[in-house]
């Protein structure tokens, strides 16, 4: 009896405070559009800030190439050719040099000094798998 009375009371309250269906639609559409509109604004602003922040760097880079060719010729001439182990072809050395250049942080240049085969019983892929699985948290 107590349970029934409580249920009836709850339903009566729910009837009184029931939100009209049209209001649900209006409120729902308004909230969804507003939230995503605000997100649109935030990320437009962010894109604007990022493009402004990268503009001085591109302007400096535009000036730098004029000076760089003069500097570049001297280091290139000074860097000795890498010492390459016998049996490793020029194409392999070029591929390794390209990979090193790609990994270098912006503005830094690395010089390849020597290329030789790695010693070890474990193949490279297996070693990478072991390293991946044993890397600490």
């Amino acid at each position: 009896m107590v349970t029934n009375a409580a249920t009836e009371a709850t339903e009566a309250v729910a009837e009184v405070i029931k939100i009209p269906d049209a209001m649900v639609v209006v409120v729902g559409i308004a909230i969804v559009m507003s939230v995503l509109l605000v997100l649109t604004g935030i990320f437009y602003a962010f894109g604007f800030i990022m493009s402004r922040a990268s503009k001085p760097k591109t302007a400096k880079k535009a000036n730098a190439p004029a000076a760089e060719p003069a500097k570049a010729s001297a280091p290139v001439a000074a860097t000795p050719a890498p010492v390459v182990q016998e049996g490793i072809s020029g194409e392999v050395v070029a591929a390794i040099a390209a990979a090193v250049a790609m990994m270098a942080p912006e503005g830094k240049r690395y010089a390849l000094k020597s290329v030789s085969r790695a010693n070890g019983g474990r193949p490279a892929w297996a070693a990478a798998g072991v390293a991946d699985n044993t890397r600490p948290f």
Binding site: K18, I19, D21, A22, V24, V25, V27, G28, I29, I31, V32, M33, V35, L36, L37, V38, L39, T40, G41, I42, F43, Y44, F46, G47, M50, S51, D132, R135
Partner: protein, 422 residues
Amino acid sequence: MNQLWDAIVDIWVNSGFAQLFDFQNGGWKNLIMLCIAGVLIYLAIAKQFEPLLLLPIAFGMLLVNLPLGAVMDPQQNSLVPFTADELQLLQEQGIYAQVYPVFEMNGQLYWQHFESGGLLWYLYQGVKFGIYPPLIFLGIGCMTDFGPLISNPKSFLLGAAAQLGIFFTFIGARLLGMFTQNEAASIAIIGGADGPTAIYTTSILAPDLLGPIAVAAYSYMALVPVIQPPIMRALTTKKERSVKMEQLRPVSRLEKLLFPIFVTLLCVLLLPSAAPLIGMLMLGNLFRESGVVERINKTAQNELMNIVTIFLGVTVGATANANTFLDIKTILIICLGLVAFAVGTAGGVLFGKLMYLFTGGKVNPLIGSAGVSAVPMAARVAQKVGQEENPSNFLLMHAMGPNVAGVIGSAVAAGVLITLFG
């Protein structure tokens, strides 16, 4: 001989076969549900309709409709009053107290009888308490690249426009006069084209309708390539469909890192009820973009997602028992689900046309249809329809923006409905 015959009859009477063919007591309903489960299994395997979820859903439906299987029977805890003899045994030898908990209430002694529930009932608690859908969103966040959205933020608006289907269907369901507000909201969320969101919302607002809504949601998600193109062609002109959009700007790592944080802060502060879905989606994305938690990124999008998908699918399917599924409401849910999808697609395309006008023809309206959050199927459909008009038009990455925005939009819409009716 008589004893042998009696034993055989006894086994038959107590078997599921007897219950299944007991047509006078509703066994025919279970037979129909088994046939429906068979059809869904066929669609999942032969036609590949969202098999990752439809197959477990279909099999869960099959299991629960096998009589006496009790896979979804709830755990039973009851207090049984002691009889006079039992009381004597308790007082003299303390027998019952050694085995069962004994309680006293209003001067009467009771012993607690415990009966364990079915396997799927225990697994279903993850759905009931809203655990599985957010975990699936975690995996989705790990797999999603929000770059196309960040580089073209107006895609957010297309994602929002495509959620019109949800609210249109809500009104439609209410006008039918057969659904309460909670039920109408649960049916309407099918229009978000997002399975986990639909299951999460329905499990809170109308858990009795979980079975038909889940089946409808995943079936229509698989039918996106069939439902959307006619609507897209009907609402756009050839000239509009041929629009080639500008290449998207590159997005920096910092933007991709800040995106999940900003979205979480804004959405959860505005709509706290959306916290589980949005929060887990963005956590997964942060795992992906940070690049420093590769192990858990891989686990979340592979092993964890697969485990949760199995549990979610089977248990949701197991809610579709004959009594709840074979109802006029199920047919109405399936029809309303189709309406929700269609109106959502139309809403996105029409908003895309508006953007086409305001930008002087720079936005292809077809990408608006991708605002329904069936990732990445809806984006692929936009790409395909666009390429039919202009084979050199590649809309896929442009359509991915509204597509992933739709995931956020449907989660926000779910948050609104849960806040209003939960």
